[in-house]
């Protein structure tokens, strides 16, 4: 399936780093006579070959100086390769620097037409897209102000909106999604993602591996001007991470697995803690509700008992027992009534009264317990409140 929109074959790019820069006639002739015109060769790219299918999103990874920007410039046609062949099928829109093509004296509106013309679009097309561009850039009235008065963010927004709204077939992004404020970055990423669905081929350079993994489906890796990896974005970015961290594959994999496990553990612990706190809260609320229901029907003697119990918090347990014994309830009844309750349910009238009696000591108990739960740390304050 010959779906290739970009074909790079054995491309090399050589720069001449002159030892001493000569830029006037006199020096040039003198050096020519003296045979001092020495050229120091620097191969920014050497024997790079790869191809891109329509609709691919290719991330270009590499450390600084690997030749990424040079490669993009060769593809965009800005630089002519010293050797090799570059074949492009489709309209290229390069976004190598936001706001570079603007004339500072011109207004934003005039620059839209100028920039669109530079990208090779006819006048009618730009006219159609004009309103959309202004809207996306959020510049509103500032569109009629000379660009020299724009902030860098405004220039970036304008450049980006022009480049993406003119419907490119091949879009080249050289680290431009990391420019601008957070909101603009989100917007630009969303816009580029939207273009993927339209089948736009994208070449994407970024130093953020996460961003590349999010946006691309393929990737290539450059090092010192040579292509050392090409393929699926996950595989290539793994190799890149190896280069960046300096670890070999096994160690890196282990490290990643460990990091992943730690992350999961942390997340799990966080979840459990949240659940625990939620459960405790629910229980506290539940018992509070129960207390409120029962607190009212307490008789005078019980209230007295309660007060006594509260004034001596240290002897809670023993006072509870005393209270239970003091209650005018037949000791046998609770035992038997418990049984009948289990068998016959709560509907029989005899059991109602006895259950109420049953519930009274329980109520006192929970009251104290409630106090414990509410202020588990400070028992002093508790006694203060009650006292």
């Amino acid at each position: 399936m010959d779906n290739k929109v970009i074909k790079i074959e054995h491309v090399g790019m050589r720069f001449n780093l002159m030892e001493k820069k000569v830029d006037n006639l006199k020096e040039y002739f003198i050096k020519l006579m003296k045979h001092e015109l020495r050229y120091q060769e620097f191969w920014a790219l050497k024997d790079v070959s790869f191809s891109v299918n329509k609709g691919d999103r290719v991330g270009i990874l590499g450390l600084n100086g690997a030749g990424k920007s040079t490669l993009l410039k060769v593809i965009a046609g800005v630089l002519k390769a010293t050797e090799g062949k570059v074949s492009i099928k489709g309209k290229i829109v390069p976004l190598l620097e936001l706001g570079a093509g603007f004339d500072p004296q011109y207004t934003g509106a005039e620059n839209i037409y100028l920039y669109g013309a530079m990208l090779g679009y006819p006048k009618e097309f730009i006219k159609d897209k004009y309103d959309e561009i202004v809207e996306f850039s959020e510049l509103e009235d500032f569109i009629n102000v000379p660009v020299k008065n724009y902030s860098s963010g405004m220039k970036a927004r304008l450049g980006f909106s022009i480049a993406t709204i003119v419907e490119p077939e091949i879009l080249i992004l050289d680290e431009v999604l990391s420019v601008g404020d957070a909101r603009f970055r989100k917007k630009s990423e969303a816009k580029v993602k939207g273009m993927f669905d339209d089948g736009v081929t994208v070449l994407f350079v970024s130093h953020s591996i996460d961003q590349v993994k999010r946006m691309c489906n393929k990737a290539i890796l450059l090092e010192h001007g040579q292509l050392i990896a090409e393929g699926d974005v996950k595989d290539v970015s793994f190799i890149y991470e190896q280069k960046v961290t300096g670890l070999d594959a096994e160690t890196l994999r282990k490290k990643k697995r460990k990091a992943k496990k730690d992350k999961e553990k942390k997340a799990k612990a966080k979840r459990e803690k949240a659940e625990r706190m939620l459960a405790e809260k629910e229980q506290a609320e539940k018992s509070l509700i129960e207390n409120e229901f029962v607190e009212k029907p307490l008789a005078d003697n019980e209230l007295f008992e309660k007060e006594q119990a509260n004034t001596s918090p240290i002897n809670n347990e023993s006072s509870e027992k005393e209270q239970i014994e003091k209650l005018p309830v037949d000791k046998e009844l609770p035992e038997t009534e418990v049984n009948t309750e289990e068998r016959s349910g709560i509907n029989s009238p005899i059991s109602e009264t006895t259950i109420q009696d049953l519930m009274k000591p329980a109520a006192v108990e929970t009251n104290v317990k409630d106090a414990d739960i509410k202020t588990p740390i400070t028992e002093n304050t508790e006694s203060e409140n009650i006292g």
């Binding site: 830029d23 006639l25 390069p94």
Partner: protein, 258 residues
């Protein structure tokens, strides 16, 4: 060749936009704006008439018109070649970011200067009326020197644009050459008045002089000077051919030097 014409069609809009931009911005910040294209030649002609009619003693009726015919053409040639020379360097930011056929840059500056030149011819028109120069049928011939002038400027502009990328001090060298051209273009004197004798052919080395000769023939109602015409055709198209050739050869290296 087909590719070149296809490319040109694609960037036709850009050429128009760049020409528009040059003209718009040239006078945007000045008060009188585009009127300066008319006022400047009037003022300079006035000064030149004053000085040279007294100096050379020739009491000529339509001397201002004579001066204007030379002065306007020279001004265009000088301005267009100077701006073409700087065009690549001043657009370096754009060249480094987007692919645009590079000949568009010098072409657009020369064209914008040409349009301003054509506007300034209004001054010549009114001066002719004032000094009672009656247009004859020969005026139709004016098209030929106008076209040749444009071609000559394009050719010289391309040569200069290419060389100036690599040798920055060419700008100073060219100012001296322009001065030489100005004094040998017979703008404010008649060649016949100078006693050149055997050296008279020296003037034929100046392509601008040859064009001015035929331009004056058309304005003053005389037939074309054929030898001058032939020579100016050779100069103009020759310089264009050389200019395009060396520009094409060197354009890929521009980006490395700007």
């Amino acid at each position: 060749m087909n590719k070149v014409t296809k490319n040109f069609k694609k960037y036709r809009f850009l050429l128009g936009e760049l020409v528009k931009k040059d003209i718009k911005l040239k006078y945007r910040s000045s008060y009188l704006g585009i009127l300066w294209t008319l006022i400047e030649p009037i003022l300079t002609t006035f000064v030149l008439t004053l000085i040279f009619s007294k100096l050379l003693g020739r009491a000529e009726k339509a001397f201002p018109v004579y001066i204007l015919t030379g002065r306007l053409l020279y001004t265009f040639f000088a301005n267009s070649t100077k701006s073409a020379m700087k065009s690549i360097r001043s657009n370096s930011a754009m060249i480094k970011k987007v692919y645009v056929p590079k000949y568009i840059y010098p072409f657009s500056t020369i064209l914008s200067n040409y349009i301003i030149f054509l506007i300034s011819l209004i001054v010549l028109f009114f001066a002719s009326i004032v000094f009672k120069i009656i247009p004859t049928f020969y005026l139709v011939q004016i098209i030929i020197p106008l076209v040749l002038l444009l071609v000559l400027s394009l050719g010289c502009g391309m040569i200069l644009a290419t060389m100036a990328v690599f040798f920055r001090d060419l700008e100073y060298l060219w100012s001296v050459v322009l001065m030489l051209v100005m004094y040998t273009s017979s703008i404010f004197y008649h060649v016949e008045d100078l006693d050149m004798g055997d050296m008279a052919w020296v003037f034929n080395l100046n392509p601008l002089y040859l064009i001015i000769v035929n331009f004056r023939n058309a304005v003053f109602g005389r037939p074309m000077d054929n030898s001058a015409l032939l020579l100016s055709i050779i100069y103009s198209f020759g310089s264009l051919a050389i200019g395009l050739f060396i520009f094409y050869k060197k354009q890929d290296k521009f980006i490395l030097n700007i």
